[in-house]
């Protein structure tokens, strides 16, 4: 299967990519790892007139600490997020999510920026990045803006990115000591994408109480779902097994999942509870609880 014909540009710099994007507007699509876009083009689900390949643009790849955040270049491939020492030490939940995406070959090619920009409702990164309160740096010819995860993922395959913007970097706040992060996924047995998954950031006080928690659940709707009822049930409480179970039981409250060929809405709600519990337990353990 070949994609339909398109005009191809290999951008050599971010400036060049932005120029091309401005010139070709809605008719153009950026190409990063191509592991969402090329399959869609082969199936003719997408037929962009122009592709602007940013795969070889220098400076958009790699993980580094910048102040209180981890700055991850948009072109960093999943395997490099999963194996990064600093990610594994400080944000194990992010490494966990990166390491269960697709398969080894996909992780060698797909990029974190591509995954975020694509905003597949069954993708892993949007869920964990929402839990971790990541922010997204969007560059346009007229400047840079930063959008938080809660406002970045808008709908099915829809983000805050405008047609003339490139996502250049994802910034993840480094959690304070006494915090734990985790990701737990129920993958579809055939596709490997999520049926349901949960990402958490738990901040534990010395006393053993929960200072605050962010819990995001995937698979329940058009994008990552903030489990607000679960978060509220954890905040200020001692992080005992009973509190965790009771909080996780609220993980699907307020969501509106739909039946699909593989899983009914009820099953997804139930799995949301199970996977939220597992992720919270693991996050609390990592927070020293």
């Amino acid at each position: 299967m070949f994609p339909a014909s398109f005009g191809y540009f290999a951008a050599r710099s971010l400036e060049e990519a932005l120029e091309l994007l401005t010139k070709h507007g809605e008719e153009a699509k950026l190409l990063a790892g191509g592991h969402s876009l090329i399959p869609a083009m082969k199936l003719r689900l997408a037929s962009p007139r122009y592709l602007i390949d940013i795969g070889q643009v220098p400076g958009l790849s790699g993980v580094r600490v910048d102040g209180e955040s981890l700055a991850i270049g948009a072109l960093t491939v999943h395997a490099d997020v999963a194996s990064s020492e600093i990610v594994r030490q400080r944000l194990p939940g992010l490494a966990e999510a990166a390491s269960v995406i697709g398969d080894a070959q996909v992780r060698n090619r797909g990029t974190i920026g591509g995954s975020a920009a694509h905003a597949d409702p069954a993708a892993d990164f949007p869920v964990i990045l929402t839990a971790l309160n990541a922010s997204f740096i969007l560059q346009s010819p007229s400047g840079k803006r930063t959008v938080g995860a809660d406002n970045f993922f808008i709908d099915f395959y829809t983000t805050a990115l405008k047609a003339d913007e490139v996502l250049t970097e994802i910034r993840v706040p480094l959690p304070p000591s006494g915090a734990g992060t985790a990701y737990a996924k129920l993958g579809h047995p055939a596709s490997g994408y999520i049926v349901v998954s949960a990402g958490v950031l738990v901040i534990r006080e010395r006393s053993g109480r929960c200072a605050s928690a962010r819990v995001a659940v995937g698979g329940l709707g058009s994008g990552p779902f903030r489990a607000a009822a679960t978060e509220a049930a954890l905040k200020g409480q001692p992080l005992t097994p009973e509190v965790i179970v009771a909080a996780a039981a609220k993980a699907a409250e307020g969501s509106d999942p739909v039946d699909d060929l593989y899983a009914s809405a009820d099953y997804k709600r139930h799995m949301a509870v199970v996977y939220a519990r597992r992720a919270i337990e693991s996050g609390v353990r990592r927070a020293g609880g």
Partner: protein, 161 residues
């Protein structure tokens, strides 16, 4: 709009310059332009791993990459794994442990396994299985494939001593 592009790639140590249509998939470039038919097309939908090659040292699915994206890259295919006539230990392992039946998945399996052993020279059985998630085999039931890779890992570790 089908303006052809000149790309330059090094495949199995040999430099090639070629004209390709931008929509040409890397696997077809390797098979049809360069005649390297050892790399197979199984599903053509990014699932089966039969098309696995090494692009700049990393195992990837060449049915999901445009040839133009590989401009400037170093590629190794199954044909380039043997060195000076000596099979790669993973190739030997598949022979010794009967790691194939029809052989359709084999080039991709071997490329994935060779990449695994480069990054993790003594993998556990679970790590081998995890590393092969992107490679499907309809014949063997995988048991002998895992055995073949363990054989290769043991041989390579011995060689290091």
């Amino acid at each position: 709009m089908d303006d052809s592009r000149t790309i330059s790639v090094t495949v199995n140590g040999v430099k090639h310059r070629a004209e390709v249509e931008p929509r040409t998939l890397l696997v077809y470039f390797l098979r049809e332009h360069l005649g390297l038919t050892g790399t197979h097309v199984g599903c053509d939908t990014s699932q089966c791993g039969a098309c696995t090659i090494h692009l700049n040292g990393r195992a990837v699915k060449s049915c999901t990459i445009l040839a133009v994206q590989a401009n400037g890259a170093e590629i190794t295919t199954i044909e380039g794994l043997a060195r000076e006539g000596a099979l790669h230990p993973v190739q030997e392992g598949f022979r010794e442990k009967h790691g194939l039946q029809c052989g359709y998945c084999t080039p991709g399996m071997i490329m994935s396994a060779a990449y695994l052993l480069k990054t993790n020279p003594s993998p556990t059985e679970d790590e081998i299985k995890h590393a092969l998630e992107g490679n499907l085999c309809r014949c063997t039931g995988y048991v002998n494939i895992v055995e073949s890779i363990r054989w290769a890992a043991a041989k390579m570790m011995k060689g290091e001593e």
